[in-house]
Subunit: 329 residues, 2 copies
Amino acid sequence: MTLPPLLQRYRSRIERGLREGLQGETRVAEMLRYHLGIENGDDDGAASMGKLLRPSLVLFTAEQLGEAPDHALPAAIGLELIHNFSLIHDDIQDHDETRRGRPTVWCRYGVAQAINAGDAMQVLAVRHALDAGEAAAGILLEATWEMIEGQSLDLALEGRPASADAYLSMIDRKTGALLRCALRLGGTLAGAEPEVLRALAAAGTELGRAFQIHDDLLGIWGNGATTGKPQGSDIRRKKRTLPIAVAFARADDDRRRLLDRIYAAPEIPEADVDWIIDLMDRLEVRGAVERMVSEHLDRAGNELSRVPFSASGRDEMDGLIAYLARRDR
Amino acid sequence: MTLPPLLQRYRSRIERGLREGLQGETRVAEMLRYHLGIENGDDDGAASMGKLLRPSLVLFTAEQLGEAPDHALPAAIGLELIHNFSLIHDDIQDHDETRRGRPTVWCRYGVAQAINAGDAMQVLAVRHALDAGEAAAGILLEATWEMIEGQSLDLALEGRPASADAYLSMIDRKTGALLRCALRLGGTLAGAEPEVLRALAAAGTELGRAFQIHDDLLGIWGNGATTGKPQGSDIRRKKRTLPIAVAFARADDDRRRLLDRIYAAPEIPEADVDWIIDLMDRLEVRGAVERMVSEHLDRAGNELSRVPFSASGRDEMDGLIAYLARRDR
């Protein structure tokens, strides 16, 4: 699936910006390059840097609202580095062994060094953001704090299935914080009015929900070859995702009792994974969850209609939203 | 052993500053309060906040060079929080179960939540430093990066005994970075001249060496009741410390071969710990290492003689240096 124009336009300068800060000879710099895909370890070929959604949104929003993208670049790089610091540490916390088809940092360098790598990535992120000024650094730090609180909430729920409400309040922090931050950074650096900043922040929250819920769909029904994870993997790993919350909510008492029993065990055997996917089919969970993705994307679109984008900018944003609803990885 | 005046003077306002930023109801805020000793978990009595050496040095230096300590307080708090972020993550990396006589954060809340706690502490630290301005935040971030590189070096050496040179280059980052930062922050906020800042930075490096080497002494010959660790604990844990580096350097070939053999095994049995302590006695390691502490403290004093402290300020600094050479925890 090709990337929409909004994710292509700024890509090369973001990649360049990420590379430039990471030329050192130390183990720490090497780990950061490896994680970001700047350096591919001993494998052949170049690794992917991912979609670069967050920094693209910073630059797009800034440019649309009248600021030169190059001026917003340090903040965009800082935000992408914060996202990546969180991925390095999340992979340790979730015992995830692969990311973007390669061994995670802790798998390759050990847990202790991977903790350092995440710590260093956070430092580097804020140093970049500071180059865009105190306001940008302050917004990024606020979002980072929120994101960490979201991750902590997620861990605190571990094992227990969350209600849809608890789930949303968790992902509004864990995923929403950085998407809100992307739009707020772009708007703030362009000197947008308070009501525009409010609409941008609200759109960020909705985009975060849509993005995460779509990720949750891929974590159960995604194609392993594209997503890098096997079908049903989020069930196997007992991740708290929206499809599970919906399945719990829709199941009758006896089936909910069985689900409880399955989730109380230390591991979920394959036969139970299959049964849960089958139950989700019978309860029409997938359709319900897909509708939620569309709903949150619509709301994001509504909020963004109050932001003075150009006509072509609006088209690009619509293209991004359509892509986020369809993406297969 | 009572604290010298320099460590008493600013203590209450630093403690207040640390408390003020941490009033939230979330798990993250609770973990940070627990680690800092603001909240003692389910034990009785208040926990200790430690010596508060680094923030005291920020405020002392700023005040001596003509800046109001209250103006430097956010930077001092930021530095102390960076120190504590590193302690939370170091305890995970080193599998340390107690700190200041209480369970470490990872022991109490689990590794995953403790990673979050350290991450959040880092964010909070920089938010504080930013209140003291961009320059202060920049200096703190630079020092944090260096410290993380030092920790990474330390881990990379793990198991292998380091030479004295490799050891010094590691602790100049791991321990030295934040002590240098303390003096530089104080000087920078007071608008000190470049040559004064250079002397402060050099003094910080020397203080860092003296401080860490003294810690190393306590980790082998310290009194368990005071330090919170049993005699010989750094040997048992195969930590790379200066006494071990000196023992390796002074041992004859056969004894060095035996040391290598002992350090190559996954664990060091008690009988070998005792043999190593005995060998260190025979090689007069303790005296040699104590002389190095004095030497680095003398050099710190020399560097500081080029900083325009008041007469009473100089007395206080001498009192601190004497304390650092004698402290038993």
